[in-house]
């Protein structure tokens, strides 16, 4: 968070911010307690936030727990990332009907993207998820073929980030250089302070954020406020449940393609794909084509897919990656190594979701450690 122009918003005035975000019918989405998890849902006031709740996360385990204090943002990331809003599981690409004037007598219609393009405010975005949105922007908007649905959803989004003060056992953003304090990619960044008066440090990260901030009933931050904010970040780093020395990993993984650990993890892995679907950066999709019974209309829909499904690598004659070993290896080496070649950063932001939400608790930091700590120095093979 930039050190300049730090303001303080009293918790009692938080709803002024929520109302400002909601102005003009903007949808405000933020953390809400639902189905025993901290999910993403509509937020109309601070009362909708999971006040006084936290989460306990370990490999394959997630539980919400009441907190000793009344913190409003005293938890880490939940099962859903903002991908569920900006790059949802299903998006219609086009539909067509026979009897039109188009080619082959088929009239093709572009989907109505007005619901997708609705102005939104994302409230309480953690720094790992900010980094993930940055990665998805690069992948889905920053290349010649722009994803039209993502572009529509991304067009008018206000991002209100929040410093992660209470990371979970599966978090490792500090080692990935993506957190726990928001650095870029936000309009406003909040830091919740619980010592003394319940208040928020507020910083603007964009002209739009600055305009929002200017209209809030804030006061200038004093040294004591700044120090409290810095202490929270420091204690957050110290509490970080996991650590991955990512520096040598991309190169080391390239030399570990025949490591016996791939067989070991394949014996435990279900090939269920949960890790990829909860990952805030994973963007792989399939195309589903449907027709009605009589063949008068058809539609093409983009749906979340996963490199763990048998259909994912299916080409004429069969699936390229038939074994769980080859699928897990594809996933992990893409996340941690070839993603760097492709997009300039790892595909992992250290949010820990794949560790928590793996039904059998496979931990990518542990797997990377085992693979890279003692990697077999074999020549690369074109093994599939």
């Amino acid at each position: 968070m930039s050190a300049d122009r730090l303001e303080v918003l009293a918790a009692d005035d938080f709803d002024v911010l929520v109302r400002a975000l909601a102005e003009g019918g903007r949808e405000v989405l933020g953390p809400v307690l639902r189905d025993g998890v901290i999910a993403i849902g509509p937020v109309e006031s601070a009362a909708d936030l999971p006040q006084g709740w936290t989460d306990e996360q370990e490999r394959g385990t997630y539980r919400v727990q009441p907190r000793a204090d009344a913190a409003w943002f005293g938890y880490a990331v939940g099962p859903q990332s903002w991908k569920s809003v900006l790059f949802p599981a299903r998006a219609l690409l086009w539909s067509g009907a026979k009897g039109g004037v188009g080619e082959h007598g088929v009239e093709v219609s572009a989907p109505d993207r007005s619901a997708a393009a609705r102005p939104r405010a994302l409230l309480g975005v953690r720094s790992c998820d900010l980094a993930a949105i940055g990665i998805q922007d690069r992948v889905l908007l920053g290349r010649p073929a722009v994803d039209a649905d993502y572009a529509a959803r991304r067009a008018d989004v206000i991002v209100v980030a929040v410093t992660c003060g209470f990371p979970a056992g599966t978090c490792f953003c500090a080692s990935m250089g993506t957190g726990p304090a928001p650095r870029t990619g936000y309009d406003l960044a909040l830091t919740e302070l619980l010592d003394g008066e319940h208040r928020f440090l507020v910083a603007a990260g964009s002209p739009r954020g600055a305009a929002l901030l200017a209209a809030l009933p804030t006061r200038v931050a004093e040294d004591a406020d700044r120090v409290a904010g810095e202490q929270l970040v420091a204690s957050s780093v110290a509490r970080m449940g996991r650590w991955l020395d990512v520096g040598p990993v991309p190169a080391a993984l390239r030399g570990a393609l025949e490591h016996p650990r791939w067989d070991d993890v394949a014996a435990r892995c279900l090939s269920c794909g949960s890790c990829t679907l909860v990952c805030p950066t994973c963007f792989c999709t399939a195309v589903e084509e449907t027709t009605d019974l009589v063949g008068a209309s058809a539609a093409r829909t983009r749906v979340w897919d996963s490199c763990f499904t048998p259909g994912f690598s299916y080409i004429h004659g069969g699936a390229v990656r038939q074994t769980t070993r080859s699928r897990y290896r594809q996933w992990l080496t893409h996340k941690m190594s070839t993603w760097v070649d492709q997009f300039g950063t790892p595909g992992c932001v250290g949010c820990g979701r794949c560790i928590t939400w793996c039904p059998v608790g496979i931990d990518l930091t542990e797997e990377v450690g085992a693979l890279v700590g003692a990697h077999v120095d074999e020549p690369q093979r074109q093994d599939r």
Partner: protein, 264 residues
């Protein structure tokens, strides 16, 4: 209402057959409601006793076969069904894996007969409940207990339009994630067969906070051992783990094998 393509000289004939089953899959066909009218325009429903006692003679272009083979009579009848059918689709857990009635495979059937029936001598039953594919060639397996309406429509549509059928090969986990259902294994800690079960139902049970019962049968390459280990870690006794795999698809090889490891 759109009319059927004029290219087809005659409507293909559809037959729906029943073997040992609960009729639930046939009811799924009847439940198509809004699709039934356009369907009737495209396909001649020639033999479907659950819907109508008027039967048009075979051969049939498409047969949907519900139920497992449990009697010597049915073992003969399934051959006749195959002979009259250009394409045969086995529908449901019974037709594809033997159904819940395949629990008999693990028991002494003669003893069961003596216990249940006053005059077991009038019964002619086989010692095992077997899927249709154990007797005749099956062109397509549509699993589920019961089959899913959407998948049924896909199978019929693909047949009518003479295009490949698209059925998911992935696990129920993908369906949970796509619909935003919280994983019941991770959050409350409920054992669940979702990771080893074929998608198709839309992940109904986890959406109601229950573990998946495996209605749609095992995915290819199902790592049942890892799911069983996790269930035991979550405190499920071995006997219950065996029962988890011995439900509607008890005789599906991957489930049967895993269950056997957990018999006390």
């Amino acid at each position: 209402m759109p009319t059927r393509s004029p290219a087809r000289a005659r409507r293909p004939k559809l037959a729906v057959w029943k073997f040992a089953s609960c009729d639930g899959c046939q009811l799924s066909v009847l439940n198509l409601e809004e699709e039934l009218l356009p369907l009737a325009g495209e396909i001649e429903i020639a033999n479907f006793l659950e819907a109508s006692s008027a039967v048009i003679k075979g051969p049939y272009d498409l047969s949907l076969v519900e139920g497992s083979v449990t009697t010597p009579d049915d073992a003969r009848r399934v051959q006749q069904v195959r002979q009259q059918s250009r394409r045969l689709v086995a529908i449901g857990a019974c037709a594809n894996f033997g159904g819940i009635q395949a629990l008999r495979d693990l028991m002494d059937v003669a003893a069961l007969q003596r216990t249940v029936y006053a005059h077991p001598e009038y019964l002619a039953t086989l010692s095992r409940s077997t899927p249709i594919s154990a007797h005749v060639t099956v062109d397509l397996e549509l699993t589920g207990c019961p089959v899913d309406r959407g998948q049924l429509v896909e199978v019929l549509t693909a047949f009518i339009q003479d295009r490949p059928v698209r059925l998911p090969q992935h696990s129920v986990c993908v369906e949970c994630k796509r619909r935003g259902t919280v994983c019941v294994t991770v959050a409350p800690g409920t054992p669940c067969l979702g990771p080893v079960t074929r998608a198709g139902c839309g992940a109904i049970c986890p959406a109601y906070h229950r573990g998946c019962y495996g209605c749609f049968g095992p995915v290819d390459g199902a790592n049942t051992a890892a799911v069983a280990d996790r269930a035991r870690e979550l405190g499920m006794p071995g006997r219950d783990v065996a029962r988890l795999f011995r439900l509607f698809n008890t005789a599906a090889p991957a489930f049967a094998k895993e269950a056997a490891h957990h018999d006390a």
